[in-house]
């Protein structure tokens, strides 16, 4: 029965899109409202839970000490992982990472990594011997579309709130003691669009994603850079459409950043 409901919604969404409307009454360029909850997980060095409409994502940071890569002996690293838990949707299955999980994790990763938001040199503990690796993993708890942006916002918030553990003289982590905050230089945010019935809409819900022909995400920074892009799904965009989405992403990204800062201050 769910399948029938979904098919009905998909055709309805496509019809509405052609008139510039959406099933939930939003404007085509309107994000859903979101709320953030910080510091839920005490074992994490930083954590943030976002509720974006009905999409719920929990992100957490673990800091680990590791040997640096031979080609960058004075630089730490970050690692981003995503899990679409079977908890979050009947469509998701437990098992080895799916293509979707890997794609969303890598796109969120690139947005943060390539924006140079984190200065990897600052994660060096001792050149050639020990560096910090910041592992950010995010989990879909309830999936109602746009896990890209939800993961990006929750991920950034968890990085912004992350603390760096204290080390003893053997470079082992001292539990529950911290030397300071993780330093962030930029605030990159992904903004994701889909094309439905020839129209571009931002922040798609689950059914809007099902109705979509193509998807596009771009990571923007507060100082006017783009740090990552990803086109997804079988459809295509023309250059004008891509330029339109980039322009919109800077505007929407700035609003989202403002909301994020406001919620982090509370």
């Amino acid at each position: 029965m769910r399948q029938t409901v979904l098919e009905n919604d998909v055709s309805k969404i496509t019809e509405l899109a052609k008139q510039g409307k959406r099933l939930d009454g939003r404007a085509l360029d309107e994000m859903r409202d979101f709320t953030l909850e910080l510091g839920l997980c005490e074992n994490a060095e930083g954590s943030a839970k976002i509720r974006l409409g009905q999409t719920e994502v929990l992100a957490g940071i673990k800091m680990g000490v590791d040997k640096p890569y031979p080609d960058s002996p004075d630089e730490g690293a970050i690692s981003v992982g995503a899990e679409l838990l079977p908890l979050a949707h009947s469509e998701y299955e437990a098992g080895p990472p799916s293509f979707d999980e890997i794609e969303v994790a890598r796109v969120v990763d690139r947005g943060i990594r390539e924006s140079k938001a984190i200065d990897f040199a600052s994660l060096c503990i001792k050149e050639g011997e020990a560096v910090w690796v910041a592992f950010m993993d995010f989990y879909a708890i309830n999936a109602d579309g746009n896990l890209f942006d939800a993961g990006s916002i929750a991920g950034l918030a968890s990085f912004l709130s992350a603390k760096v553990p204290k080390l003893n003289d053997k470079n082992k982590i001292i539990k529950h003691e911290y030397s300071g905050k993780l330093e962030m230089k930029r605030m990159p945010l992904l903004t994701t669009f889909v094309k439905v019935g020839g129209k571009i809409m931002v922040d798609p819900t689950y059914v809007e994603e099902k109705a979509a022909e193509a998807r596009f995400s771009v990571s923007t920074t507060e100082d006017g850079y783009m740090a990552a892009m990803q086109k997804g799904m079988g459809g295509s965009f023309n250059v004008e459409e891509v330029n339109y989405m980039i322009d919109k992403a800077f505007i929407i990204g700035a609003e989202t950043r403002k909301k994020l800062i406001k919620q982090m201050k509370q």
Partner: protein, 293 residues
């Protein structure tokens, strides 16, 4: 742990976190928290924080997993990478697999599985923060999620850790107690109404006499857990305000509330016509809940 002196519970009369020997950490449960799932629960138990979701009964796939006589209860227990002091590898380990198995077996006992042949009841539990006792927290949350999903059950399952640390018999061990030199940890789950044991594991060294003293402690603690579970479910399904006479009034109030809710949201032209269908829907819901009670 640092080089502090080892606590002695016989002398101290108090535990490292200030609890009495038979005292549980604070527990709170919220039922029906995940809109996508057929049933769900979020539970906080001390520092432990877990989500439980139920999907099904649905066709068991692949087909060879089906049982023509009953439903298969499949539990998937996982821990988030950041839920433990040292990052956990994301792929499931042997511990995750074993816990999934014993939790599934514990829940199978309380579900009328024979009513749903060839199906699977998927129970997913995710630990997002932990401090000893995550499996009993998951079992407790999972049985609430099953009830929330409307799956016919004989009873809930209430569980807690029981055992020994620093020379005393205690309930609900925390991480410091689990790491004590004489620690005994016994995950203990029962059907509260019959007292039947559905989860029992142990590691550590224990005498028969100590076990005999621990059982009543465990039963008492599980009764406390059961009280929290019942309260959470009653909060979700409570219709104390509904009687035969005022059912119409309650429905009307709910319809008004829902209308007010939709008004505050974005006006949805597309769904305008569905406003008329709100009333019978709510009425059905209320009636269904009454029957359940």
């Amino acid at each position: 742990m640092t080089e502090e002196k080892i606590p002695d519970y016989k002398k101290d009369k108090k535990r490292v976190d200030g609890r009495k020997m038979d005292e549980l950490r604070p527990i709170s449960i919220k039922v029906g928290v995940l809109p996508n799932a057929d049933g769900s629960a979020y539970l906080e138990w001390g520092q432990n924080k877990v989500y439980a979701a139920v999907y099904g009964p649905r066709e068991a796939l692949p087909k060879h997993t089906q049982n023509p006589y009953k439903a298969v209860v499949k539990v998937t227990y996982r821990m988030a990478t950041f839920s433990v002091p040292e990052r956990k590898q994301p792929r499931p380990n042997r511990r995750d697999m074993e816990i999934s198995k014993v939790l599934g077996e514990a829940l199978t006992k309380v579900i009328f599985t024979e009513q749903f042949p060839n199906t699977e009841i998927g129970v997913y539990v995710e630990v997002v923060d932990s401090n000893a006792g995550s499996r009993v927290a998951c079992l407790t949350a999972a049985s609430c999620a099953l009830a929330n999903a409307g799956i016919p059950m004989k009873d809930l399952v209430a569980a807690t850790g029981i055992g020994k640390a620093f020379g005393e018999l205690i309930v609900d061990l925390n991480k410091d107690e689990e790491d004590a030199p004489d620690a005994v940890d016994i995950p203990f789950g029962i059907m509260p109404n019959s007292g039947e044991i559905v989860l029992l594991q142990m590691d550590g060294l224990l005498t028969k006499e100590e076990w005999a003293k621990l059982v009543p402690l465990g039963m008492k603690a599980c009764a406390d857990v059961y009280a929290v579970q019942k309260k959470a479910l009653q909060e979700k399904f409570s219709l104390s305000e509904v009687s035969e006479k005022n059912v119409e009034a309650v429905v009307e109030a709910k319809v008004k509330q829902e209308k007010a809710d939709t008004k505050t949201e974005k006006k949805d032209q597309a769904d305008k016509k569905s406003a008329g269908s709100v009333k019978p829907g709510v009425l059905q819901q209320v009636k269904a809940k009454k029957v359940r009670k």
